[in-house]
Symmetry: C2
Subunit: 242 residues, 2 copies
């Protein structure tokens, strides 16, 4: 059996998320359907990260096994021909049989885009926060999560996970004009974790929560309430590293 | 009568354009409706530029006369409260009675966004041209239009204009990663002019037309066929200067 790796971009606006659900349009289902059209085969598509409803991806990685002999460029072009315009395949290649999009991943990189203005253009790809935000305080908070921590405080209820430990390699805000971008890279992320981190850091940036309190929330391991989750449309899974 | 100036941003995706039409959703109609709700008055809204269907604006300027005594911040906040999310008002101010959004404008600045990759995210705000483009040749062509010229060759049939002369102040392409941006500033623009210029310059960039031929097309004043108009979604009216 061949093992094939895809790098996918998608606009999450009209999806219930990556994962196939009982109802609603999922990326996993659309790509699986596309592969059935191209390969004449039902494959099991494994994604690196289960993005939530409305969350986008520029570098989602997926893999599947197939007996097809179709060469990678033909699969790539065939898929881009049959897939809807809100999913694009950027690359397609044969990989080792032990490659697993989810378990082989070393780092996932997310960016969250936040606009300080009210926006019409691009409102589906950023969160509009038309207030004064202190980016230095937000970076103080962002820096505290680097390293290995238990993120129970920044995890949506109902997540089925064995443990809450994640290793964060980088976490910081950059300002460019009226756009603030948060970039975070880590070995794994819990459900809604990035959005809960962003929502809480915005509370810090607005002066509603001291940066020190942010650290306390993290240390409380779920016994202390965090801020609101930032809305999904600002979040993009940028890259998965292996 | 007060004369009030608005700066507007809109996502043109779901509009038939700026101007009120027999059917379909127009920006002019939506803003006029919003003002009726806020002021209790039917105003005549004058726009600086009549953007086509699907074309966006980040800095469209409009003005209207009113007998209302409502202060500008209340009009701005009121409008943003009642307008749909794809139109945002960035500023609102009282101006001299002789200010006319269309006739007082000195310069209109448009940008056209072109991606060298197939895109899912942002596909409504750029044109995807996944081919090799020679940006130096495109800049050679872009430079030839600076100054005063007759743009009959770059004007959609059926435009009702007295003359085709436009003064172009700047015209050039910039590359940033896989995104090419064309910026053009001029005293006036004819119907679909920027899109016809971009479509023809892309032909130059792909090697389908020599840069010298671009100049001939311009000189032919409509007697020579131009390339296709670039699609509307890549075009944004960025700013109007007075």
């Amino acid at each position: 059996m061949r093992n094939i790796k895809l790098v996918l971009e998608y606009d999450g606006t009209d999806f219930v998320g990556w994962q196939i659900q009982a109802s609603g349009r999922s990326v996993q289902q659309d790509v699986t359907n596309g592969l059935r059209q191209i390969l004449g085969e039902d494959v099991s598509l494994i994604g690196a990260g289960r993005t939530d409803s409305g969350v986008h991806a520029r570098g989602q990685v997926a893999n599947f096994h197939t007996v097809s002999l179709l060469d990678p460029p033909s699969i790539l072009n065939g898929l881009n021909g049959v897939l809807p315009q809100d999913i694009r395949v950027h690359s397609c290649e044969d990989v080792n049989e032990d490659f697993h999009a989810r378990y082989s991943a070393r780092e996932r990189v997310y960016r969250y885009y936040l606009s300080l203005e009210r926006m019409a253009i691009g409102r589906f790809y950023s969160w509009s926060v038309p207030y004064d935000l202190d980016i230095d305080l937000m970076n103080d908070a962002a820096g505290t999560i680097v390293g290995e921590h238990s993120f129970e405080s920044f995890c949506k209820n109902g997540s089925e996970v064995d443990h809450y430990r994640c290793i964060i390699y980088r976490s910081g805000w950059v300002r460019s004009g009226t756009m603030l971008t948060y970039e975070v890279g880590g070995n794994r992320f819990l459900r809604a974790m990035v959005r809960l981190l962003v929502g809480t850091m915005v509370d810090v940036g607005r002066g509603f929560m001291p940066a020190a309190a942010f650290q306390e929330v993290l240390a409380a391991k779920g016994r202390q309430r965090v801020g609101m989750a930032a809305p999904p449309q600002g979040l993009i899974l940028e890259e998965v590293k292996y």
